[in-house]
Symmetry: C2
Subunit: 416 residues, 2 copies
Amino acid sequence: MRWVLPEDRIPTAWFNVTPHLPAPLQPPLHPVTREPIGPDDLAPLFPMALIGQEVTTDPWVDIPGEVLDVLRSWRPTPLVRAERLERALGTPARIYYKDESVSPAGSHKPNTAVPQAFYNRGEGTARLATETGAGQWGSALAYSCALFGLECKVYMVRASFEQKPYRRVMIETWGASVEPSPVDDPASPGSLGAAISDAVRDVVTHERSHYALGSVLNHVLLHQTVIGLEAKEQLQLAGERLPDIIIGCCGGGSNLGGISLPFVPDAGVELLAVEPTACPTLTKAPFDYDFGDTAGLTPLLAMYTLGHDFMPSSIHAGGLRYHGAAPIISNLVQHGRMRAVAYPQLKVFDAAVQFARTQGTIPAPETAHAIRAVIDEALAAKESGEEKVILFSYSGHGLLDLGAYDDYLHGRMTDA
Amino acid sequence: MRWVLPEDRIPTAWFNVTPHLPAPLQPPLHPVTREPIGPDDLAPLFPMALIGQEVTTDPWVDIPGEVLDVLRSWRPTPLVRAERLERALGTPARIYYKDESVSPAGSHKPNTAVPQAFYNRGEGTARLATETGAGQWGSALAYSCALFGLECKVYMVRASFEQKPYRRVMIETWGASVEPSPVDDPASPGSLGAAISDAVRDVVTHERSHYALGSVLNHVLLHQTVIGLEAKEQLQLAGERLPDIIIGCCGGGSNLGGISLPFVPDAGVELLAVEPTACPTLTKAPFDYDFGDTAGLTPLLAMYTLGHDFMPSSIHAGGLRYHGAAPIISNLVQHGRMRAVAYPQLKVFDAAVQFARTQGTIPAPETAHAIRAVIDEALAAKESGEEKVILFSYSGHGLLDLGAYDDYLHGRMTDA
């Protein structure tokens, strides 16, 4: 079963979780002075509208009409009940997923790429530079820049640039240019942190250029809350009150934040972050101030971090290879409102293929992390006989990650 | 703007165009005796339910509930107005497309793969074999076999097998096996006709095996009429009476038939088939009886045909590399109810990239043939000042064809 909301039921305001957090967020610090930063410190990187959204405590933020016009090309996205998977597992759990793979770029990323391109164009930006891991974010920004008439430059983590050539072509088809990162070390597989450094260096040396980040920051998670807001309404249509547990994969934290933040005020709704054991930020790392990028060019953020020079192995879930986690997600985990679990790659792909052969669609390797946890929760519910309601974010499709499936199906994949 | 019908407005019967054709269809002939064939001649290849649908003159054929349950995973598909493309062209034409790319396999092909798997399972088939060109059909059948618990073997045209490795992986992810065709000539780029021969040879030498065809035959086009039936209802929602012209790309003719056949009885609705100049079946070939496959194993069909041994060049639109055209489509063209046009590859990709950069989604090379004709019709309407209503079939996405875009964007594509 699918629940599709009509076009006019798209949310018209983003949900701001800040007033609902268990404790106040700690301010970002200047990379040199280590004093709390102000709007002027961020102005070389972002338009003022986004800087304002980064610190706002307003409970709701209106979505501009021109942004809604673009989001309506694929939103509201379907809420789907995974009945074939439920039957294959023999679980009494009811499993629902929010299908964010239906966007033009194939993931949740355009939810924030579109407003970021919109606000930048509104303040006279001519060109955006960014990093990308698996390419989901880079393709989303390239798509958005094509619609708003902005130039776009994408620094792509070298491991993904080589593993996923089709993502590079997708970005180029929308008119953006792509360069493997780190630009100064062709032998390195790269990391999201290093690619951020490349993109930040780019914008400070180009006219009318701004930087765009696809995750981690408050305004990015804010834009993604359309996912959870729609899901809440669709669950009612499906006859459910609230989910018992919400599950999302976590790299920087944007899709996880998108589906779960609107449920933070709802006591009794359990929130679960899923990450790779190869990059165990929330499950193994300390909570500390750290840079968002490898070179130490960005402000210091209060978050769980493996260290800004951490270099994860080249797992296929390139979008989860980030040393930190969004301050909002870190805050929720630190204060016990969210928990986290980590899985190795092979168990993740077992789940991905089981999903493809029952539900019929092929998930992105990142999304497959969430699916692994969903299956384990559903099997635990079978054990306990509990009619649990599970909601997860189907954050993206795996059609440009089929090289990873090829490795898995032919025994060439390892857990490393 | 998008018009999405609720799940319960999915068509519950297929539309049979046979009673509405300008002249009766000529019967298929036995490959050896050249006498009209009967049901028993087809029984080694197809289940009786499909053989019945091949010859029925009933105006409507009920869709089984179990088939509807699966089709509802993605149907009804959206009808989209291509407003950004209209603006970029400055045309007074209103352009609508039916988005068949939202299916799990990414094209219209599952519309018939699902009922074919269903009817085969119902009659005790354990295994299906088929051919595939670009891989759209092979992946659709692999998906459907996974859902109905059938084994699946796909003979993939070698040119596509090499150009589009991700389609092979997709098919394998759903549990089917793939072999490049022709199996006995590794130096040949292959053709759909040769791959049909391989698949037919396979099923006659395997137990409880049947053959499944993704286009050409009457029952295949019948299953695809859900496209046009939904579009008719959605156009009313959009405030249009009927389209002035309907455009679809044509290989064997199934997506073109799907969108256009329900409009055959509507006088004044122009129907346009678009094919590649590299395989100009409807625009250059004679109408004659010919085999559906290279080796001459299938019945003889009355159709436009370039000859069953015709070997088209390795263009990227692998799904359009077929020597014949569906008897129903051929009948409509022969009697003037449909016209046809052919385009070379580079002009087709010009249109594809213009579409991607305005509408935001990347079409399959096959679909891009329709888009080329749509743009030319819209520009002609601009010239004449006519507020023409154009409807086309967005038959599939190009996410597994990005190698073709890579060639185009980097000047490596030719018209050959």
